[in-house]
């Protein structure tokens, strides 16, 4: 154990605190096996003794993790690998998480209304809930008696809140001992397995209370694992084996529809994938080349409309039916042309001006499509009606519109489209990665950093910006061709700047910024969060934009580099932690010319 300069928040002997934390966590864990309510009005059936269900499972998992980390704090052999970073801060966080989930459950039960509109009230709680709650509370209080993992950095303000927040932080883990390659790959595979399971659990949550509990559990759990240094360890491994990681991610994504027997949830998966793919395409434009494009969803619309027009839909004014590969090429080509046509005049602008003009073009697309209804313009898009009843695809004799049984699993329509979309996502991931690492990608980043210097290094800035813009547009067009089929219908209202359904320009940009600009996984994570949360919490929909605004402000304040930060961004926003920074530039000699020509 390291020496601690800061005393614990509660003056308890360390060993007593450790024991009490362990006991509290064990009590909370035991409580989840008892019944929590008398009534089954509350969803998830918490009435069964010996079989945790619904929110009890979340408390169970959280309490188990707390117990594990508390035991690791005892120095028990075999658990040391859990805590390469901090030991006590993850315990504290997990205890806190367990308590919050349990307390949330208790409150949710109390305020739940039964069929007649009466609150369930305190009377409906069985002792099991109280046992877990008390256990969790004991664990939280006792964990406050555990020492801090790192000394208080700001001793001038020993405010209790500062001390509390500091007690939740931990130093970064040191360098890991190298494992054999197969073991490292196994760890990566296992991590993706766990990640897939957690993600699937989130999608499968059937009622809002469970989803909120899930978000609380994931939030506390992820933070705790970060503090424990496990996330840093896994990140180091994935950075070491990048191809393995990509393959593992692809396999995990491929497995997802096989875990879904519910058509509705598989559809959420397919839509997340579409959203994420478009966000990744936008990341080429915004993250790499630094061009703020506020009308990006228009390119998705162009691709979707192009695919819908040639899909053979009876409502399509063109009335031709292309095979799918030709439709994909048509959609991509149409988006490419639009990208070049819009980019060529606008990319001579920089910064804010570009953002405003692209915002305008995005709206022009929607208005134009609305106007091409045969009344105010030639009939090309059916105006605001859109193009409905887009037929399902049939690839290689495989009808994507019907269910298929594959190896004992039933793949419904949405699952079929999910798998099709996964191919497109893989293509976009490949394009993003390969272009980003190439000479072209370096030129994009150089333009983002300093356009004048980039041109002075021989980079044709306009041409490369147009290339980024056109490539981004093409990728969005690709995703659009699938989106048209998934949603049966394309209407102009799907492609707004800001709307309630995620793939719109504002949300795409939010996904990129939230996830982490210029990274591969950032937009994927950001898109998944931005789609899943409103899809699961229907009651939030009225306040959706407000809440996203709030989330973005908080993120910019506390983690400006996004959820997934690349090394570069991390250093950009957090100056400290780099050892080679000199305190200041060397002083100049009195006689040496320090004057700067103002010419």
């Amino acid at each position: 154990m390291t020496t601690h300069t800061t005393p614990a928040l509660l003056p308890l002997p360390a060993s007593a605190a450790r024991t009490a934390t362990t006991a509290g966590a064990a009590l909370a864990l035991a409580g989840t096996f008892l019944a929590w309510t008398y009534t089954d009005t509350f969803p998830g059936d918490l009435t069964v003794t010996g079989y945790p269900g619904g929110l009890q499972v979340l408390t169970l998992v959280s309490a188990t993790l707390t117990l594990l980390f508390a035991l690791a704090g005892h120095g028990i052999k075999g658990l040391g690998w859990l805590t390469p970073g901090g030991t006590y801060s993850p315990t504290r966080l997990l205890a806190l998480g367990t308590f919050v989930i349990t307390a949330y459950t208790v409150v949710a039960v109390i305020v739940k209304k039964d069929d007649e509109g009466n609150l369930l009230g305190l009377v409906e709680l069985e002792p099991g809930a109280w046992i877990s709650l008390v256990g969790a509370l004991v664990a939280v209080l006792a964990s406050l008696g555990l020492p801090s993992d790192q000394p208080l950095d700001d001793t001038t303000r020993p405010h209790p809140l500062n001390r509390f927040l500091n007690s939740l932080r931990a130093p970064a883990p040191g360098r890991a001992a190298a494992l054999p390659a197969w073991a490292e790959i196994l760890v990566i595979a296992a991590s993706f397995g766990v990640a897939l399971h957690v993600f699937t659990y989130g999608i499968d949550t059937e009622y809002a209370e469970l989803f909120i509990g899930y978000v609380i559990a994931v939030g506390f759990g992820f933070t705790a694992l970060t503090r424990a240094g496990l996330i840093a360890r896994i990140t180091a491994l994935t950075a070491k084996h990048r191809n393995v990681t990509l393959a593992a991610a692809l396999v995990a994504a491929f497995c997802f529809p096989f875990t879904q027997q519910n058509e509705q949830y598989a559809l959420i998966g397919a839509n997340i994938l579409i959203f994420a793919t478009v966000a990744l395409g936008l990341n080429v434009v915004v993250g790499l080349a630094g061009l703020l494009d506020l009308g990006y969803v228009a390119f998705l619309g162009v691709g979707a409309y192009a695919a819908a027009l040639v899909s053979g839909s009876p409502m399509s004014p063109i009335g031709v039916q292309f095979p799918f590969w030709a439709a994909v090429l048509t959609g991509a080509a149409a988006s490419l042309v639009f990208g070049v046509v819009i980019g060529a005049p606008t990319l001579r602008l920089r910064g804010d001006y570009l953002a405003i003009v692209t915002l305008g073009f995005g709206e022009i697309f929607r208005l134009t499509v609305n106007a091409l209804n045969g009344v105010s313009g030639p009939d090309l898009t059916n105006g605001s009606q859109g193009i409905p009843s887009i037929p399902d695809l049939e690839l290689f004799g495989f009808d994507l519109g019907t269910s298929h049984d594959v190896g004992g699993f039933t793949l419904g329509r949405s699952a079929n489209y999910y798998l099709l979309m996964l191919v497109f996502t893989a293509v976009v991931v490949l394009v993003f990665r390969r272009s980003g690492e190439s000479r072209i990608g370096r030129a994009w980043v150089a333009i983002r950093e300093d356009e004048t210097a980039a041109t002075a290094m021989g980079i044709n800035a306009f041409r490369l910006k147009l290339l980024a813009f056109a490539l981004g547009a093409t990728l969005a067009g690709l995703a659009g061709t699938v989106q048209a089929h998934v949603s049966y219908t394309v209407t102009p209202e799907q492609y707004q700047f800001a709307g309630s359904v995620p793939p719109n320009s504002a949300f795409l940009l939010a996904a990129v910024i939230l996830g982490g600009m210029g990274t591969l996984s950032g937009p994927l994570v950001g898109a998944a969060l931005l789609y899943l949360i409103p899809a699961k919490l229907q009651f939030m929909q009225d306040y959706q934009l407000f809440l996203f605004g709030l989330a973005l402000i908080l993120l910019m304040r506390f983690r400006p580099e996004g959820l997934v930060a690349d090394r570069r961004k991390k250093l950009e926003f957090h100056e400290t932690g780099q050892l080679d920074v000199p305190p200041d530039t060397p002083l100049t000699d009195t006689a040496a010319g320090t004057t700067k020509a103002g010419a």
């Binding site: 150089a446 290094m457 010319g593």
Partner: protein, 334 residues
């Protein structure tokens, strides 16, 4: 008005700027400047603040389109587009460092290789044959350049985290990465201490020895006159004089441009000699060997705003207190 003092040239003409004029509205920043740089030459460009040196540089590199005049490189007239100028073979650094701050040191140099590699988007996406080879040879060349300037061990650092002197060096390496025939350096030693300045001096000589002609703007006169085969003086947008260090230092107009014309009753050579004598008496241990006893020239003391009137009391102070003596000695001995 312009005195042309041509020195013996050592090769073909690399850069030929003739009659370059740059007007911003009513302001003429550069007026009819002619300048040639020959292969294997280091040419200096000096002038007081606001003389139009950087504007002239920007005209040469295509960042500004000159109102009049033309710039040709090795016989071909350059189009006023920065990337085409770089492609033709002129690389530059900036007065205020303009590195790609959030890219690594190696990536910065690799960006400099941009014009000398051809691999496009398709080549990168499909990993066409030749992509790997081109990428590897770019990296190899970039590492060579980092070795050359002495930053090879910092290849993976972010450019923004380098110390100031290293950032200046990296900018030079980045410029060299485009395999230029002419390197334009805009105040490469601004803000450097004497040691760093000397290292930069050696670096520029080494670059010249690779067959790259150098045109350099600098305010440090000692640096410029040590370094350059020829020096051109720009004053208020016009070229005043061009020639070897001696010619430029001896030119009265240059002295006047930097120091102003002496007013009636200003301390002249007699007073300076008097002070020198007092100095020599006071500090016998360290005789000021290389101070010219005659009228001070700009070559001796760099800060352009110091008039002789200021200088004499300053030196008198030194002799009395002796506090800054060591500093001056150190500077004299370099």
């Amino acid at each position: 008005m312009t005195t042309m003092t041509t020195t013996a040239t050592t090769g073909t003409t690399v850069l030929d700027a003739s009659g370059v004029t740059m007007r911003f509205g009513g302001l003429t920043a550069v007026r009819g400047v002619d300048l040639t740089v020959n292969a294997g030459e280091i040419v200096g460009l000096i002038g007081p603040n606001g003389a139009g040196k950087t504007t002239f540089f920007n005209c040469l590199t295509g960042l500004y389109v000159p109102t009049e005049g033309k710039v040709s490189y090795k016989g071909t007239v350059l189009p006023p587009k920065p990337h085409l100028v770089t492609q033709a073979g002129i690389a530059r650094t900036f007065q205020n460092i303009r590195l790609f701050a959030n890219m690594t040191v190696l990536e910065n140099v690799l960006v400099g290789r941009h014009t000398r590699t051809k691999e496009g988007l398709w080549s990168a996406l499909l990993r066409l044959p030749g992509y790997k080879k081109a990428e590897n040879s770019s990296r190899e060349r970039a590492m060579e350049l980092l070795e050359f300037i002495g930053l090879a061990d910092k290849a993976d650092h972010l450019a923004r985290n380098l110390p100031y002197g290293d950032q200046r060096k990296l900018e030079i390496a980045r410029a060299l990465a485009s395999d230029p025939g002419l390197l334009l350096l805009d105040e490469p030693t601004a803000g450097m201490n004497p040691q760093e300045t000397r290292v930069t001096e050696e670096l520029i000589f080494a670059i010249r020895d690779q067959g790259i002609a150098v045109l350099v703007i600098e305010h440090d006169m000692r640096f410029i006159f040590n370094l350059c085969d020829r020096v051109a003086v720009l004053v208020q947008g016009e070229k005043l004089v061009e020639g070897t260090a001696e010619i430029v230092q001896g030119d009265e107009r240059v002295v006047a441009a930097y120091l102003g014309t002496p007013f009636e009753g200003a301390p002249g050579a007699d007073e300076v000699a008097e002070v020198e004598a007092a100095e020599a008496g006071a500090a016998a241990a360290a005789p000021p060997a290389d101070r010219t006893p005659a009228a001070p020239t700009p070559a001796d003391e760099t800060p352009a705003d110091e008039t002789p009137a200021d200088q004499a009391p300053a030196k008198a102070d030194t002799t009395e207190t002796g506090t800054t003596r060591t500093e001056e000695e150190e500077e004299d001995n370099r």
